[in-house]
């Protein structure tokens, strides 16, 4: 049997894993840059090609243009090595990412209500499961609310995470009203004096107006009990997503006032460059990155680590 538990490899260190994941995926990018700059001077054609290389890393046209523009201003007259280019690009990316790298800390309210939203399959349940494990191990009392009453076995999935983290999971039968469940869960979280209540919701595409309104209703219902809640509304983005991430962020933000982002599945071949363009265009806090399916595979977003990994620079 082939075992697949990335949490076993925590001795390897998550930095290494993030980097090895990212470096695999950024190899093409690096090779491309290397090829460009051993062959050519940094002329307009080269910059154009560099711009496209950044685009292929999902950075998006606008960010790619900005980054290459910066590069052109700074270094246009020098003969640059590939390594110098990478460092220069990484520095600019750190500059963009640094202001948004803000970990999610559930303090200031009790219970601190976290709402996870996002499109289908982005990794909401897994992300909440990981957060529950982490915060429980830090000594907080956590409660989970399985408000994805639509997808088959979504409740069961969260319950298994609840067992792993040893926290209670509030649920109702398939097809129940998600808002009512959230309301009840908040009552219970208050009654049991929980530190954190995390609400998992059903995945929905942002262009499904009715489903988006359902989500807005859930928030309104929570506010009837605590008008400061939810204290964090986290949009979970799939790391393989392309430029549609911008529309997702925009619409979820308009509907439920998203307060931060978590980007998942960055252990794959996706380059996660959309993170950079999102930071530039939206500026929402980036709380964490998901790099695997184990309990420990969720880490605070670190601008420097991310930028350097993306550019294949070893620390």
């Amino acid at each position: 049997m082939i075992q697949h538990k990335s949490s076993n490899s925590s001795s390897k260190g998550w930095l290494t894993r993030l980097r090895s994941g990212l470096s695999k995926s950024s190899r093409l990018l690096i090779d491309g840059i290397g090829e460009l700059f051993t062959k050519h001077r940094l002329d307009k054609v080269t910059l154009k090609e560099l711009e496209e290389l950044l685009i292929t890393a999902d950075l998006g046209v606008e960010t790619a243009v900005k980054l290459t523009g910066n590069l052109a201003c700074k270094k246009f007259k020098n003969d640059l090595t590939s390594a110098e280019i990478r460092i220069a690009l990484a520095e600019d990316i750190v500059e963009i990412l640094d202001p948004v790298a803000q970990p999610l800390r559930p303090f200031g309210h009790k219970p601190f209500v976290v709402l996870a939203v996002g499109v289908n399959g982005s990794g909401k349940t897994t992300t909440l499961g990981k957060l529950a494990c982490q915060w429980t191990s830090e000594g907080m009392s956590v409660m989970l609310a399985a408000c994805d009453t639509f997808r088959a076995a979504a409740v069961e999935q969260l319950k298994i995470w609840g067992e792993r983290a040893q926290v209670p999971v509030i649920d109702k039968p398939y097809g129940s009203d998600a808002a009512a469940l959230a309301f009840d869960a908040l009552l219970k979280a208050k009654a049991t004096a929980s530190d954190v209540l995390m609400i998992d919701t059903a995945g929905r595409l942002q262009n499904k107006t009715q489903l988006m309104e359902e989500l807005a209703k859930l928030v309104r219902v929570i506010k009837k009990q605590d008008d400061t809640a939810p204290h964090a509304t986290v949009l979970v983005l799939d790391g393989t997503v392309g430029q549609n991430a911008h529309v997702q962020t925009q619409v979820f933000r308009e509907m439920v006032n998203v307060t931060g982002l978590i980007i998942t599945k960055l252990d794959g071949s996706s380059r996660g460059g959309v993170v950079v363009s999102l930071a530039q265009s939206v500026g929402l806090p980036m709380h964490a990155v998901g790099v695997g399916e184990g309990e420990d595979d969720l880490h605070s977003f670190d601008a420097r680590v991310f930028a350097h990994s993306l550019m294949g620079i070893s620390e």
Binding site: I2, R151, A152, Q157, Q243, D267, G268, S269
Partner: protein, 488 residues
């Protein structure tokens, strides 16, 4: 007919405007010429390049596509009935279709039973839901005896998810044995299928990143063991540039026979279609268009190409509408429409249907010339709440008033306004819209269904010559001369 609404539409954004809009602005700058010259073609190509990249088409695929467009476009004569821009659309459209694959292929079940189908893909791409959708289709359309088995021992409750879906659609699933390895489950699945006379076996597997050596090897092991007739790569239509890596890795490491794209009902711009199809060279064998078990459709390259170009997925809309609207009711309405007898009741019904289709937001994506239409709607402030409000007004009328709106006098208007929580101005606006709609409906009656679609297209959109557009999906070059002749 759109100016009665207030409120806000959650769509459209200049910075990330549709591909069609971007291409449109380039084409509008093109001068009318008899032949497409190199500088025109190259200027279009460099803009389209950025637009395609921004639409998440992978770079190598963009290059390939544009090279083909360049070769075909330079020096081409522009038929006098069409503009240079339309000529370029036609060329790009043809190449898009060519890259997407003009061969429509569905899943062939005509093999010795059990025919096995293996689903592979990244985490969260929609494998399990798609497995159930396929199973339902095989049972209902192909009348096969189907069993599903989940080999996903990684994700919590993944196997329970497949079992629950199986219960919902009345398809058997392999009993779950905890602690069993995926290879052992695969063996048990084949044996069960053989011994119990199942005709189709669908194997759902765990999501895996395509660079995870261990899991990719495992997938290959399962494949070698099962020797499936189909290995379907399930991929998210929202995928960005990584589509090309995912497709290449799965194809090389495991070997796939086809691709199914999911979340096509989202508002992604379809770049993943081009990338996946091109990199694997394998046909797209289905598209997921919703969360329900019926929401699986055949892939039509022409439609996706049209959608990418902003010509609208007219056929899809009509199909979807025909599924949603109860056939009988629709027949009644169209009968009345053809006679020009369009009542307020019909209008209320249409509002309801519009909402049932998934709200204005999801319908607009299907419509041709939508980027401009969308802006109009945004500026006219339409949203679904407004639709509901219009319905409320109509609901506050008596049946007689709905059938004979001309009897609605001031006192009746006051009563209706009170009943619906609106004011007389709202009633007037609704009645004005109704009059306009009734007029249009009369015209529809004369034009037939194509006329309906024409009426939806923005007259001011220079990209969309109505006649050319209606013929575009099936157009071959000779159609242009035919169109031209028709005009003479």
């Amino acid at each position: 007919m759109v100016n009665v609404f207030n409120g806000k539409l959650l769509l459209g954004d200049d910075m990330f405007g549709r591909l069609s809009e971007r291409i449109g602005s380039v084409f509008n700058r093109l001068k009318q010429r008899r032949k497409l010259n190199e500088s025109d073609v190259l200027s279009v190509i460099s803009e389209v390049r950025v637009a395609l990249l921004d639409a998440d088409v992978s770079l190598p695929v963009v290059n390939l596509l544009l090279e083909r467009v360049r070769k075909r476009a330079i020096g081409r004569e522009v038929i006098s009935a069409v503009s240079s821009g339309q000529m370029m659309i036609k060329i790009i459209y043809d190449e898009l279709v060519a890259v997407l694959g003009s061969d429509k292929q569905s899943i062939n079940l005509d093999y010795a039973a059990p025919v096995s189908i293996m689903m592979v893909g990244l985490q969260g791409s929609g494998k399990t839901t798609t497995a159930a959708k396929l199973a339902k289709r095989f049972v209902n359309q192909d009348h096969k005896k189907v069993i599903m088995a989940s080999l996903d021992t990684t994700r919590p409750a993944a196997r329970e998810q497949l079992r629950t879906l199986g219960e919902q659609i009345g398809v058997d699933t392999l009993p779950i044995i905890h602690e069993e390895t995926s290879i052992a489950t695969a063996k048990r699945a084949i044996n069960t299928a053989k011994l119990q006379g199942y005709e189709v076996l669908i194997l759902d597997t765990a999501g895996r990143t395509s660079i995870n050596d261990l899991l990719m090897t495992e997938a290959k092991l399962v494949k070698d063991l099962v020797n499936p007739h189909e290995v379907l790569l399930v991929a998210d239509a929202l995928t960005g540039q990584d589509a090309v890596n995912t497709a290449a890795n799965f194809n090389e490491r495991v070997g796939v026979t086809g691709v199914i794209l999911t979340r096509v009902d989202g508002d992604s711009r379809g770049g993943a279609f081009l990338s996946m199809r091109n990199v694997t060279g394998k046909p797209i064998k289905g598209i997921g268009v919703g969360e329900k078990v019926n929401d699986l459709e055949d892939f039509h390259p022409e439609r996706i190409a049209s959608r990418i170009l902003g010509m609208g997925d007219i056929v899809s809309l009509v199909e979807k509408a025909s599924q949603t609207i109860e056939a009988k009711e629709a027949e009644n309405i169209s009968d009345r429409m053809l006679k020009g007898a369009f009542t307020l009741e019909d209008m209320a019904y249409q509002f309801r249907q519009l909402r049932n289709l998934g709200g204005l937001g999801s319908v607009i994506g299907f419509l041709p010339g939508m980027s401009k239409l969308q802006k109009q709607l945004t500026s006219a402030n339409i949203d679904d709440k407004q639709l509901k409000r219009q319905e409320a007004i109509i609901s506050s009328m008596t049946r007689t008033e709905r059938i004979n709106p001309q009897i609605i006098n001031v006192s009746r208007k006051r009563r209706i306004a009170q009943g619906s929580g609106t004011d007389v101005g709202d009633i007037n606006r609704l009645l004005k819209t109704y009059t306009e709609m009734a007029k249009i409906m009369k015209k529809f009656g004369k034009l037939g269904s194509k006329g309906v679609i024409n009426a939806l297209i923005d007259d001011n959109n220079p990209l969309l010559n109505k006649d050319a557009m209606l013929h575009m999906p099936s157009a071959i070059d000779s159609d242009y001369s035919r169109l031209h002749n028709n005009r003479k």
